[in-house]
Amino acid sequence: METTSFLPLLIIFSSLLPGTLILMLREDQSALRTFLNLFGAVAKVGLIAWVFAGYLRGEEYGFILPLAPDLAFVLRVDQLGLFFASLSSVLWLVTTLYAIGYLEGGKHRRRFFAFFSFCVTAATGIALSGNVITFFIFYEFLTLSTYPLVVHSGTDKAVNAGRTYLWYTIGGGTILFLGVVALFVVAGPISFGQTEVIASLASVNPTQLTIIFFLMLTGLAVKAAIFPLHGWLPISMVAPAPVSALLHAVAVVKAGAFGIIRLVYDVYGIEVAEQLNLLTPLAVFAAFTIIYGSVRALFQDDFKKRLAFSTVSQLSYISLGVAITGVLSSAGAIVHLVHQGIMKITMFFAAGNVAETYGYKKISELDGIGRRMPLTMGVFTIAVFGMIGLPPVAGFISKWYLGLGAVEAGSYWVVLVLLGSSALNAAYFLPIVYRAWFCEPEHEAAPLRQIGRLETQALLLIPVIVTGILSLAAGVFAAMAGSPLSIAREIAEKLYLL
């Protein structure tokens, strides 16, 4: 069928192996641990770049390990997967740097970094999965490897948040499992991209396929935080900032959104999904979540909680884009996968920097912080503009394409939703920017950490600047070849050519 290559497996192992080794180290071997971490992160980015280059040359990479008759562990490289894998691996590298600085001197760092690596292993595994089973395996692996990170601080609040997180994700996982088994029974083993299998069954047993679709969608919607299954996300913001970055940008919610993209495009196929009218409910729920998340975000004073509700809202753009047929909206959905990631990770890093440097966790405490931390708040402001959808930041591109797609499909109500959401975004983000730059601080606070000449530690500052620049660049250079948008367009065009 296709040549077996160990490269995809190597990509998985580039974080799995460091994670396992870190687990075996002693707590005080921090130099070796940092080396392993960074080595794994750099190796992963390098490997993915290598594979991407090979893929563009037209090479195919696949790895198949048969588990049981009809049940195979398949890793395969396709453009969409590589797109997500690149996002995860690059952001992981940045987040690892950030986490090393953030957790310096903290407790249980061995555990933290090990599971951190496992998380990214799961995320890249999800990206490279070649069939539904493999996807499910990594999807559950992600749930389990995230849990120790959510409860990392060990406070009662964190432990309770962990419990909520598990209830949602394990429950969702069970429903997804049911759907996966049922799909297997109805349609046999399905590789991603084999939409003809379902297409041939669509007229035979539409009811079963519809039920299975919604079972799987429900399972995925938990991680994608679609209302009413979003409850775990705001609660989990008690975790340390690198973990929030992981949850909101690198891995977890992305896994859900990516899963929905796979489900609609690569399992059922757009035609079947339209034919069975599966997408309308998704669109309605996604649109409602966009508005709902924004409205809830308005009323949060806790900085990270406001960001968390913002994620709930922003993430549903992806689902909404998937739910509207058309090249443009699909491109918008896929590209938002990346754009939302880099913008939201910038925001969480910034919030983490403020909290770590001055101990401010509430928005009402942020008066004048911009003058003390100009770089941090500067990139934060860029991200805010992106979130609202102002050109030339990345978020504008996504919204523009989503809007165009909606017009193309004739769903004018979606445009209204997008406009309303942008207004709400502005309403809850601009006050932060205003306070940071234009309000006088009530009292001068001393930094909690040794910060030296910079506004905060270098390891905290560099990542946030990098991601900030990335989110600007993704917008400015969107028209260039190799930009996220160009890749997303290519993927979307291929989908509709089929």
Partner: protein, 511 residues
């Protein structure tokens, strides 16, 4: 059957551990342990060699005394038996290694503990004998060997709770085997043969066969702690020393399941109705939910694990309704039989590894804390990371999350359930998984929570933690050879076979 290739291995698999157990009696306490450990390794090695032999030769037999059935007894090692024997060997070796360290580290070691070794080897011989047996009466003798050794091991600590639990266990075991033997008497009376293969050919449906089924099935369900006969299991398994709990839960109860599976598919097909399968399925479904719920309600670790066994054994019972085909369905057209069998075998193996690891971890925690009340588990993740990890991994396998062996079992079970159209079992399977997740993550949540006051921990030998963790990892690694394992199992005549049930109302055959 007697034209199959003959091999000495079946006889050696029973004889060798038996001989070593006898030999160990001549040694002092320490010598018993050494002989026991060497004996475990030798037996396991022999099991692996025999396993390889079966992969190459196919089913092998050993005609004991040279007397062919029905007069004599025949040992038959097909791929199903080989897999069970191999599982016993792998899990058994780890338990032996652990037991050596565990009993040595016990401060209050009494003279009873050295007897662990001969009893454990006798038990092992009994298990091997059971998996190999092809004779109804010989099966009775082997389950008695297993029963006596198991109860003796369960009361090894000599504590009051263990004695009460042990007596209850023993009385239940005797009742179960006597019920089984009554069925054997009737079958022998009506056919004049005891050989399973011959019985499969000559057994006629009728009131006698039905009645034999009616006493043998509950008799064996008592032995495997199938709902509603599970009452003896939690106290017995939770009050035994950790290595014993591990081997009781991981291996001993599986013996009765194995017989039940063989008898239903090989012998009693003529007398089974679709409803009978459904009845066992109901018992299994209730066991899954009830056992998991009970586990969730317990406050000490070993009781949680013991109740969890009741639930996990329930999953095994859920295989039976899939094997009994509805009237009019033939085995050739039933494409869910292979998944159902795979689910059964994988559930047995995955549970053996995971539960052994779980109990061994519980032993480590008791050794460190002096008790296993879960309210003291706070902050354990930081203080005993390896053990918490072992519990976590074993728990994940019990829940059935990928990529564990438990996932393989649940996956195939659900697949079988959907393919057969018996969707009503699905809520029990998934609900059980969710409840299992509840108690596993309740433990995890506590282990990660900060401690209010830290109890001092006694040191635990590092290797014990390694053995527990390796077993937990084993419950994941077993998924790797799944395809070849299933192919191998399919070489057994019985694997993948279904029971073409008789039409309702025709229980009494032709009269």
């Amino acid at each position: 059957m007697t034209d199959l290739p003959t091999s000495p291995f079946p006889a050696l698999l029973v004889g060798l551990p038996f001989l070593l157990a006898t030999l160990s009696l001549f040694f002092s306490s320490k010598g018993k342990a050494v002989v026991g450990l060497i004996g475990s390794f030798l037996t396991a090695l022999l099991a692996i060699v025999a396993f390889v032999e079966v992969t190459q030769q196919g089913t092998v037999i050993h005609i004991l005394g040279g007397w062919e059935p029905p007069l004599g007894i025949l040992l038959r090692m097909d791929s199903l038996a080989a897999v069970f024997i191999g599982m016993t060997a792998l899990v058994g070796v780890f338990i032996s290694l652990y037991a050596r360290g565990y009993f040595r580290a016990q401060e209050d070691s009494s003279e009873g503990f050295p007897l662990f070794w001969p009893l454990w080897l006798f038990l092992w011989a009994g298990l091997n004998g059971l998996f190999l047996s092809n004779d109804l009466f010989n099966l009775f003798v082997t389950i008695e060997v297993i029963g006596i050794c198991a109860v003796a091991l369960a009361v090894l600590s000599g504590k009051k709770a263990a004695l009460f639990a042990g007596l209850r266990y023993l009385l239940a075991a005797i009742t179960g085997s006597m019920a089984y033997l009554f069925g054997v008497a009737l079958i022998y009376g009506s056919t004049g043969t005891l050989d399973l293969a011959l019985l499969g050919q000559v057994l006629e449906p009728g009131p006698t066969t039905t009645f034999a089924l009616l006493v043998i099935t509950p008799g064996l369900m008592i032995k495997m702690a199938g709902f509603p006969f599970h009452f003896w299991l939690p106290p017995a398994h939770s009050s035994a020393p950790a290595p014993v709990s591990a081997l009781l839960s991981a291996l001993v109860v599986k013996g009765a399941f194995y017989i039940l599976l063989r008898l239903w598919t090989e012998v009693f097909g003529v007398s089974l109705t679709f409803a009978a399968g459904q009845l066992i399925g109901v018992a299994g479904a209730v066991a899954v939910i009830w056992g998991s719920w009970q586990a969730f309600m317990q406050t000490s670790l070993k009781l949680i694990v013991a109740h969890s066994s009741v639930a996990q054994l329930g999953y095994l019972l859920l295989v039976f309704p899939l094997l009994v085909l509805a009237p009019g369905v033939t085995a050739d057209s039933a494409d869910w039989l292979s998944p159902a069998w795979t689910a059964g075998v994988y559930q047995v193996i995955a549970h053996a590894f995971a539960k052994a690891s779980f109990f061994l971890s519980a032993g480590i925690i008791i050794m460190a804390m002096g008790h296993d009340r879960i309210e003291s588990f706070r902050d354990l993740a930081a203080r005993m990371p390896m053990t918490v990890m072992a519990i976590g991994l074993a728990g994940v396998s019990l829940i059935g999350l990928p990529p564990s062996g438990g996932f393989m079992a649940k996956w195939n079970l659900l697949q079988g359930i959907f393919l057969s159209g018996q969707w009503w079992w699905a809520p029990a399977v998934l609900g059980g998984s969710l409840l299992t997740a509840s108690y596993v993550f309740m433990l995890m949540r506590l282990a990660f929570a900060p401690a209010r006051k830290k109890e001092p921990l006694r040191p635990v030998p590092f290797r014990l933690q390694v053995f527990a963790l390796l077993l937990a990892l084993g419950s994941f690694l077993i998924i790797l050879p799944a395809e070849s394992l299933i192919q191998f199992l399919e070489s057994s005549q019985i694997f993948g076979s279904g029971i073409e049930s008789i039409v309702e109302g025709g229980v009494y055959g032709n009269d």
